[in-house]
C-alpha cells in the first residue's frame, strides 16, 4: 500500500519540505537533520510531518512473517497495513482486536499513536494487543521489547520518537464471521440540553455490546445525535473482502461549501436521514461498520484545499456530563463549524502506553474545515477547559495545540523525551516540547 502523499498529513492544510528515505531492514539511515519514521501518513496533523528533516517511510516493509492460526498470534513487519492484515486473515476467522476509523494505517503507526476504536470499553487500545516489538534505534541498534518493558511502554503511544518499529507480534481476535449486527438509536432532539444525558444513558445500558459510538450534531443546542451499537456476527462470503473504493473525490470542495451554515444543514440532513431509516437493527459487512469513509478515495478533499483539522478531546468520567455540553456550546457560540462529530465513552481499561491518549471518560472528535484565527482562538480556549478538569487532547490528530497545553495534558512527556532516539523528531514533537511559552 502506498500513501496518497509523501509530504502532507491526512488533514492537508500545510505542506512541509522533506527528504525521503525508505526503511530497508538495514542500519538506521544517515541524515544531516532529524529523521521521523512514517507509515501511511493517515495522521491528521503533524505527528507524521518532519519539516526540513527526513521521513523514513516504512510502507514497503509490510511482510507478514508468521501466523499461528490456533492462537491468532501474528508477527509482521511494522509497515503492514491493518487493511492487508484484516483482508488476509478474516477468511480464516481472525481480525484485529482494535481498529481505528480507517484501515489504511500501518501497524507501526497504530502502535506509535496507540489508536483506539469503538470497542475501547471492551478491548482498550491497540497497544494492548502488542506482545512484542522490534525497535531499531540510531544510537543503540536493535532491541526486542517484550511486555512488560519500560521502553515498550514508551514506544506504545510514543509518537514514533523512541526508534523505528521494525517488527511486531500481535494477538488477534477470533470472529464469528464478517458481519456486524448493528442497532441505531436517536438521542436528544428534544428541547432542553438532554442530549448528553440521553447519550450517557444509552452508553451505560450498552456496556455489553462490543462496539458503541455516537454521532453528535454539535451545531445543535440540544446535542441531538445517533447512537450506534454493534456485535460481530456471521455474514455471507462476499463480505469477507471489502468492496474496492469505487468513488474518488476528483476535486477539492470549494470554500463556500464549508462554512457553519453548510455544517448546520449537513448535520441536520444527516440526522433526518437517520431518523427516517426504518430499520433500527440491521446486519452489515464489518468493513462498512468500521470504515465507512474508506469507501471514498481521497475523502479528505471534501474539506477543500486548505484542509481540515480534527479536534479530539477527552474529559474524565466525573466531568463528562457537565463539560461535554459546555465545551461544545463554547465552540458553537464561537461560530466554529463542525461536521461529523463523534462521541465515545472510554472505560477504565488501562492503556499500555505511558503517553496513550485514552483515559476513563468521554471523548468527542470534531472535524473543522480550514480553521481560521477565530476557530483557533476558540480551540485554545477549549483546550484550557479540557485541561482544567484533567482531560487531554489527542496528539495523533492535533495540528495546533500549544506547548503549554500539551505539557499540561501529558506531564509525563519528559519521560518520553528522556528515551527519545536522538536522531528522531517530528514537527509535532518540536512544537509541543518548546519550553517557557
Amino acid at each position: 500500500m502506498i500513501p496518497r502523499s509523501l509530504d502532507q498529513p491526512w488533514g492537508r492544510g500545510f505542506s512541509a519540505k522533506h527528504s525521503h528515505a525508505f526503511a530497508d531492514g538495514g542500519a538506521f539511515p544517515r541524515a544531516t537533520g532529524s529523521v521521523l519514521p512514517r507509515g501511511l501518513g493517515r495522521s491528521y496533523g503533524d505527528v507524521c510531518v518532519n519539516d526540513s528533516g527526513t521521513l523514513l517511510h516504512t510502507f514497503r516493509r509490510d511482510r507478514l512473517l508468521a501466523f499461528d492460526d490456533v492462537h491468532g498470534i501474528l508477527t509482521c513487519e511494522a509497515g503492514a497495513s491493518l487493511a492487508d492484515i484484516a483482508q488476509t486473515l478474516l477468511p480464516r476467522g481472525w481480525f484485529l482486536p482494535v481498529v481505528p476509523g480507517t484501515r489504511f494505517v500501518t501497524v507501526g503507526g497504530a502502535i506509535a499513536n496507540d489508536v483506539h476504536g469503538k470497542n475501547h470499553h471492551i478491548s482498550g487500545t491497540f497497544g494492548r494487543a502488542v506482545r512484542s516489538v522490534t525497535l531499531r534505534r540510531s544510537d543503540t541498534g536493535l532491541h526486542r521489547l517484550d511486555a512488560p518493558n519500560p521502553l515498550l511502554a514508551h514506544t506504545i503511544g510514543g509518537l514514533g520518537v523512541t526508534g523505528l518499529i521494525e517488527e511486531v507480534t500481535l494477538e488477534l481476535a477470533r470472529l464469528p464471521g464478517p458481519g456486524i449486527m448493528q442497532e441505531t438509536k436517536l438521542f436528544g432532539g428534544k428541547s432542553g440540553d438532554g442530549g448528553i444525558d440521553d447519550y450517557l444513558a444509552l452508553d451505560a445500558e450498552s456496556k455489553d455490546w462490543n462496539y458503541t459510538v455516537g454521532w453528535i450534531d454539535t451545531m445543535d443546542k440540544n446535542l441531538r445525535g445517533v447512537f450506534f451499537r454493534g456485535n460481530h456476527c456471521d455474514g455471507p462470503d462476499e463480505w469477507l473482502a471489502p468492496n474496492a473504493a469505487t468513488l474518488t473525490l476528483p476535486v477539492d470542495a470549494p470554500r463556500w461549501l464549508l462554512g457553519r451554515w453548510s455544517a448546520r444543514a449537513f448535520n441536520a440532513a444527516y440526522y433526518r436521514a437517520q431518523a427516517l431509516q426504518t430499520a433500527k437493527r440491521s446486519t452489515i459487512p464489518l468493513w462498512q461498520f468500521f470504515f465507512p469513509l474508506d469507501a471514498v478515495n481521497a475523502w479528505n478533499r471534501a474539506y477543500g484545499k486548505r484542509g481540515f483539522i480534527q479536534y479530539q478531546f477527552v474529559v474524565p468520567t466525573d466531568a463528562a456530563r457537565e463539560m461535554v455540553p459546555r465545551i461544545l456550546a463554547h465552540l458553537r457560540e464561537s461560530n466554529v463549524a463542525s461536521y461529523l462529530a463523534v462521541i465515545k465513552t472510554f472505560d477504565d481499561l488501562l492503556s499500555p502506553g505511558r503517553m496513550s491518549f485514552p483515559m476513563p471518560g468521554t471523548t468527542v472528535a470534531l472535524d473543522i474545515p480550514a480553521p481560521n484565527d477565530n476557530d483557533r482562538r476558540a480551540l485554545d480556549r477549549a483546550d484550557a477547559m479540557v485541561a482544567d478538569v484533567g482531560g487531554r487532547v489527542y496528539p495523533a490528530k492535533d495540528a495546533r495545540m500549544s506547548a503549554v497545553m500539551f505539557q499540561r495534558f501529558f506531564p509525563q512527556w519528559r519521560e518520553l523525551e528522556a528515551v527519545r532516539d536522538p536522531m528522531i523528531s517530528s514537527s509535532f514533537w518540536r512544537r509541543v516540547t518548546r519550553e517557557g511559552e
Binding site: 525521503h20 525508505f22 530497508d24 511482510r63 501466523f67 513487519e77
Partner: protein, 249 residues
C-alpha cells in the same frame, strides 16, 4: 488447478505483489533472488498468505553459472513449475553510463543478457517432455519501444529483451511454451524512489502485478501496464527522428 510458479528476481516490488496474488491462490512457489534475508521474508509472507509450498534459491541472477546450476537443480528435483516470471531490472543512470563503460556493460548485462538467458533456459526446460509446456512472463519496459536520450542504456537493454521475447515466443510456440512480454510504464517502487514528482502516469506495483497475473491467465502475448501506455508509446513511436533527437525526455 494449483499452479507452480518460479519467480526470478523475487525481491522486486512488482514480483512481491505478484507473489502475494499467487500465494492467495495457494500456489507453490520457487523464489530466486540475490538477497537472502529479503527472500526469506518474502517466502515467510507467501506462506502466511496461503502459498502451499515455498522454496528459495539465492545467488547472483546475472551469473551464467548460477542460471545454469539453478535450472539444473529444477531438473534434478523435478520442480513442478510450469510458469516463470522474470522480474528483475536495474534503472540505469544514463549520465554515469556516458563516461563509465564498465558500468554500461554491467547494466546491459543485467537488463538484457542475463534476463534473456533465464528466459531461454526456462523455456527450454518447460518445452521438455517432463514439463509438457508452460509460460514464461518477462518484465520488459515501455522504455524498450524507443531509445530516449534520458534513458538510452536502459531503453536499449529492454528493446533487446522485448525483441528476444518476441522471437522466443515464435520459436517456442510449436513446443507448447508461451511467452508473455510485459511492458510496464512508470512504477512507484524502490527502483524509482529517487524520482521526486510522481504524477498520474505512475502506477503502483500492486496494480502492475494484478495486470501481469491477468495477462498470464489470459495467455496474452504483449501487454502494456497500465494499458494506456500502448497509446502513449504509439504516439512516441511516430515522432520523426529529426524532432525526437531534440527532445529532452
Amino acid at each position: 488447478m494449483k499452479s507452480h510458479v518460479i519467480v526470478v528476481g523475487a525481491t522486486s516490488a512488482v514480483a512481491q505483489a505478484a507473489i502475494r496474488i499467487w500465494a492467495a491462490r495457494n500456489a507453490s512457489l520457487t523464489l530466486v533472488a540475490r538477497n537472502s534475508d529479503e527472500i526469506a521474508r518474502i517466502a515467510a509472507d507467501a506462506r502466511v498468505r496461503g502459498a502451499s509450498d515455498v522454496v528459495t534459491a539465492v545467488g547472483d541472477l546475472t551469473s551464467t553459472a548460477f542460471i545454469m546450476t539453478t535450472v539444473a537443480t529444477f531438473d534434478a528435483s523435478g520442480d513442478a513449475s510450469t510458469l516463470a516470471l522474470i522480474a528483475y531490472g536495474s534503472l540505469t543512470d544514463s549520465t554515469r553510463a556516458d563516461t563509465d563503460v564498465n558500468y554500461l556493460a554491467t547494466e546491459l548485462d543485467t537488463n538484457f543478457v542475463s534476463a534473456a538467458l533465464w528466459a531461454q533456459a526456462l523455456a527450454d526446460r518447460f518445452a521438455r517432455v517432463d514439463c509438457g509446456g508452460g509460460t514464461i512472463a518477462v518484465i520488459s519496459s515501455v522504455a524498450g519501444d524507443r531509445g530516449r536520450g534520458s534513458n538510452h542504456a536502459y531503453g536499449a537493454a529492454k528493446a533487446g529483451l522485448t525483441a528476444f521475447c518476441s522471437g522466443l515466443r515464435a520459436r517456442m510456440h510449436a513446443r507448447g511454451v508461451h511467452v508473455v512480454t510485459i511492458k510496464p510504464g512508470f512504477i512507484d517502487s524502490p527502483m524509482t524512489a529517487q524520482v521526486a514528482k510522481k504524477g498520474a502516469l505512475w502506477a503502483s506495483p500492486e496494480a502492475v502485478a494484478a495486470g501481469i497475473v491477468k495477462a498470464i491467465d489470459k495467455k496474452r502475448d504483449v501487454v502494456y501496464l497500465p494499458s494506456f501506455w500502448r497509446f502513449i508509446m504509439l504516439v512516441i513511436g511516430h515522432v520523426p527522428e529529426k524532432i525526437f533527437k531534440r527532445l529532452k525526455f
